[in-house]
């Protein structure tokens, strides 16, 4: 049940009416949120509802136990158990086949003939999101950053809250639990903002779908020219941004219509002027999660910073999918982050920066974008050999000699779509309040954007990030 499908519209209409007009009081509304969210989840695969509830119940019980005990050793044991449960669930459902296949590949390379079968485990949708979310709760309770909740219902409703359930943003306990405890009311201004975010999210998602065939040009077909390969890589960069940030905006908008605030997840990432800056703007809820719960736990900036960054980014890459391409993508970004930090420490670089000032920024932006695009090649390629081949093609090696005659037009379309996605975000951030305050401008814009999406939207395409 994707946000841009008719079935979801029906579901949300029913849910909203019940939430707003039928279920009164905190308890009934919490039950409605929990049951509604499980129905939403069942839209993908009802068989995995027990797994979701198991994760939630386990962390609820463990967090309560952590809060009750005063013994640090006991607290640590309970936290370890929570880590074991959550990471164990991820290991079984997401990484078991990958691990088996990797070991088999390794043995084959060593001349052995492994004959074990893969488990063919079905990946439960959203598992990476909700296990991280659930895990962060017990860690927060362990660290004393949040209180263990008494109400299992509230905790499960927060964990399964449908706007963010399957593709984030990854919420912390302190972000949503207090809201579910107080159940805030939507205001008209908040609702208009929700409409705006939902509409812009849908618009970006629609543009992302339009780019799908251009992406295939570079990644899924025979070798093409340099120009077409760059077009495909650019298209993927725009597609994944439109798809994921579009989904997040829709999630934020839907939550706002119900009265809940979810944190932002993207901040115009392709305007970043360094890899560090990029990770402050891209999938913010994941990067801050990794920073707070992994990087800092490894030692953060205090000691072995480069090692910590590399481990964090490699695991961050693996979080995206059980494949070596994702790990390589994480390591690639880890290298970029380490290199950026190291360069920033050089006196020469500091001198250049202070002298060149703002004139250096376009160059920094272009270089960052170039590196991020190279990263997307690793992310999107089916395997590392293909990625390596594409790196060569992008730089003129073994490309098809001539691009198709219409290739430049395709590039224009891809660039236009990419710029448009960022432009609407920028306008929303810069002028959103002013536009929302003027109903005569706001509602026609909502209508036009929605009409565009309804006309050309591709409801059968899945969101790319659901697979993570």
């Amino acid at each position: 049940m994707l946000f841009n499908t008719p079935l979801f519209f029906l579901f949300f209409a029913g849910f909203f009416l019940l939430h707003a007009f039928v279920f009164r009081g905190r308890q009934p509304r919490l039950w409605l949120i929990l049951v509604g969210s499980l129905v939403f989840y069942a839209g993908w695969n009802y068989r995995f509802i027990p797994l979701l509830l198991f994760s939630g119940c386990a962390d609820y019980v463990l967090a309560r136990a952590i809060a009750r005990t005063d013994r640090p050793v006991q607290k640590k044991r309970l936290l370890s158990l929570s880590l074991f449960v959550n990471l164990g669930v991820l290991a079984v459902f997401k990484y078991s086949d990958f691990a088996l296949a990797s070991v088999a590949d390794l043995l084959s390379a060593l001349g052995q003939e492994p004959s074990w079968p893969t488990l063919q485990v079905v990946l439960p949708v959203g598992i990476s999101f909700y296990t991280f979310q659930s895990l962060s709760y017990t860690i927060d309770v362990y660290r004393g950053d949040t209180e263990a909740r008494h109400s299992l219902l509230t905790f499960l409703a927060a964990l399964s809250f449908f706007p963010q359930l399957v593709a984030g943003p990854i919420l912390r306990a302190r972000q949503l639990l207090p809201q579910l405890e107080s159940l805030p009311s939507p205001t008209w201004a908040g609702a208009k903002h929700g409409f705006a975010l939902f509409t812009l999210g849908l618009f970006k998602k629609t543009l992302a779908d339009l780019l799908a065939s251009s992406v295939g040009l570079a990644f899924d077909g025979p070798r093409v020219s340099v120009l077409e390969t760059w077009t495909g890589v650019l298209a993927f960069a725009a597609q994944i941004y439109g798809d994921f940030s579009g989904y997040t905006d829709m999630a934020l908008g839907l939550a706002l219509l119900l009265g809940f605030r979810l944190p932002e997840n993207f901040r115009l990432p392709y305007l970043a002027t360094s890899p560090v800056d990029f990770w402050r703007r891209w999938h913010v809820s994941l990067s801050t999660w990794l920073r707070d719960y992994l990087y800092i736990s490894l030692g953060g900036n205090r000691h072995h910073r480069s090692r910590n960054i590399m481990i964090t980014m490699a695991l961050g890459g693996l979080w995206h999918g059980a494949a070596w391409t994702f790990v390589a993508w994480g390591i690639f970004h880890g290298c970029l982050l380490v290199a950026t930090h190291r360069l920033a420490e050089l006196p020469f670089v500091e001198r250049v920066r202070s002298r060149a000032g703002r004139w250096l920024r376009p160059l920094q932006w272009a270089l960052t974008l170039y590196l991020v695009l190279l990263g997307w090649v690793l992310f999107r390629s089916s395997d590392l050999t293909t990625a390596w081949d594409l790196f060569g093609t992008l730089h003129g090696a073994h490309a098809a000699a001539q691009p198709a005659s219409v290739a430049p037009w395709l590039l224009v379309f891809v660039v236009f779509a990419s710029v448009t996605m960022h432009l609407v975000d920028w306008v929303q951030l810069r002028f959103g309040d002013a536009i929302e305050a003027r109903g005569w401008l706001f509602w026609p814009l909502v209508f036009l954007f929605q009409l565009f999406c309804f006309l050309v939207g591709a409801p059968s395409d899945a969101f790319i990030y659901f697979q993570f």
């Binding site: 994707l2 499908t5 008719p6 079935l7 519209f9 209409a13 909203f16 009416l17 707003a20 007009f21 009164r24 839209g43 805030p184 009311s185 939507p186 205001t187 008209w188 201004a189 908040g190 609702a191 903002h193 409409f195 975010l197 779908d209 339009l210 065939s213 251009s214 295939g216 040009l217 706002l256 219509l257 009265g259 605030r261 979810l262 944190p263 932002e264 901040r267 115009l268 703007r281 198709a404 005659s405 219409v406 379309f413 975000d425 920028w426 929303q428 951030l429 810069r430 959103g432 309040d433 509602w443 929605q450 009409l451 309804f454 006309l455 050309v456 939207g457 591709a458 409801p459 059968s460």
Partner: protein
């Protein structure tokens, strides 16, 4: 700039706990805004889709089915069912006239619809069968075109984007509800396409850039002057002929012409000048660059030379033959003439096609008539690599078809009366 669309500072003023009365007013406002926005969007889309009229021919054919069953009950009915190749090649008026000359009273229909793979044709065949069964009517003769490249894996993959559109258009509401019970997401989508989107799926438009890119990529962007001149001559010749067409007639292949029972032309109604213009148009040779690009498109989108068949499509074709056989006195599968200058199957493709034909005959008991290499058809009679031309090809094909089946229809007529 603070790039924070939903930062706390911005939203703090937007959220507070309201007393129940005020909250209800806000909730009502949200509900009303949803209804108005989505209602006006859906209404405008409905209107635009109606104007675009993407489903002109299949929708027109579906609308006509009750008449197919109820009209001309005293005459022998012939249906030629197939793809755009049938649509281009078969002229009901000419067919009826030729059989009339042979002393047979026949009314024929062109049920050729473009862009429908056997999977979708099968659904359409159900609608035809139901319409006839409802009126307890049968067809004297049904000819079912098998278009080999429409039943290939490549074709199935390429046309996947039309699946929802075709299912939503061709299925009955009851069938759509069955889909919804099995897969609520898809069912809701199909019902929306049918009832809210006015039969126009989003994928149809969304896929256009990719298709356009593929099509344009196969074209020579700067053809030599002589080919450009040739194209210009063809365009002018066509325009001259179109200007002389009788009222209510059009070469447009998108719609359903009820007066011509699905055909494009009634040659008997053409003036002498129009006939000359048609001949002049036919005399302009084909543009080899355009033919090459067309062949490449058919290879890319339909595997026309290698013919790796899709089991689902083959099975669907067998089902559709059975559907139509149940309401036909005589039924035959035909392979339309092939433009042998461009489309030549190698031994492996031929073997694959033969295997499919053998299977069709074995499973349906229906005879297959192969006109692919019939010497009465020449490459000159084709408008592209697959479709017979309106100038010569359609006339030859229709006449030959009438002559081939005259005896069958005569026997059926004798038996009937």
């Amino acid at each position: 700039m603070t790039p924070s669309s939903t930062s706390s500072s911005e939203l703090d003023g937007r959220y507070q706990t309201l007393e129940p009365g005020r909250r209800r007013r806000v909730d009502l406002g949200i509900a009303l805004a949803c209804v108005l926005v989505f209602g006006s969007v859906a209404g405008t889309h409905h209107l635009l889709a109606g104007l675009l009229d993407f489903n002109g021919r299949p929708a027109g054919l579906l609308e006509h089915l009750p008449q197919l069953a109820s009209d001309h009950r005293d005459r022998q009915k012939v249906v030629v069912f197939g793809s755009s190749m049938t649509q281009a090649a078969f002229e009901p008026a000419l067919f009826d006239a030729r059989l009339d000359e042979l002393g047979l009273d026949v009314v024929s229909y062109n049920h050729g619809v473009g862009n429908l793979n056997p999977e979708y044709q099968e659904i359409l065949s159900r609608r035809i069968r139901e319409a006839l069964e409802q009126e307890d009517e049968t067809l004297a003769l049904t000819l079912v075109e098998l278009t080999p490249f429409q039943a290939t894996l490549t074709r199935s993959e390429f046309t996947a984007f039309t699946r929802d559109q075709n299912h939503a258009l061709l299925m009955t509401t009851s069938e759509l509800c069955d889909v919804a019970l099995e897969d609520p997401d898809r069912g809701a989508r199909l019902l929306t396409i049918r009832h809210v989107r006015n039969g126009l799926s989003a994928e149809l438009l969304t896929s256009l850039p990719g298709i356009l890119y593929g099509a344009l990529s196969n074209r020579d962007p700067s053809p030599p002057p002589e080919l450009r001149a040739l194209e210009e001559r063809r365009r002018e010749a066509r325009s001259r002929f179109e200007a002389l067409l009788p009222a209510g007639t059009s070469l447009d292949t998108d719609g359903w012409n009820a007066g011509l029972r699905g055909g494009r032309l009634d040659r008997a109604r053409l003036s002498a000048k129009a006939r000359t213009a048609l001949e002049d148009w036919g005399a302009v040779p084909a543009n080899p660059a355009r033919m090459r690009a067309d062949l490449q498109r058919r290879v890319d989108q339909g595997d026309i030379l290698e013919l790796h068949f899709d089991e689902t499509q083959v099975q669907a074709f067998i089902s559709l033959v059975k559907n139509l056989a149940s309401v036909s006195d005589t039924i035959e599968v035909i392979l339309l003439p092939q433009n042998t200058d461009w489309v030549r199957h190698g031994p492996q493709a031929r073997a694959r096609l033969d295997a499919v034909l053998t299977r069709i005959t074995a499973e349906t008991g229906v005879r297959v008539r192969d006109l692919q290499h019939d010497s009465r058809f020449t490459p000159r009679q084709f408008v592209d690599t697959t479709h017979l031309s309106v100038q010569e090809g359609a006339e030859t094909f229709t006449t030959i078809l009438a002559e081939i089946h005259a005896d069958t229809l005569r026997r059926a007529s004798d038996a009937r009366y």
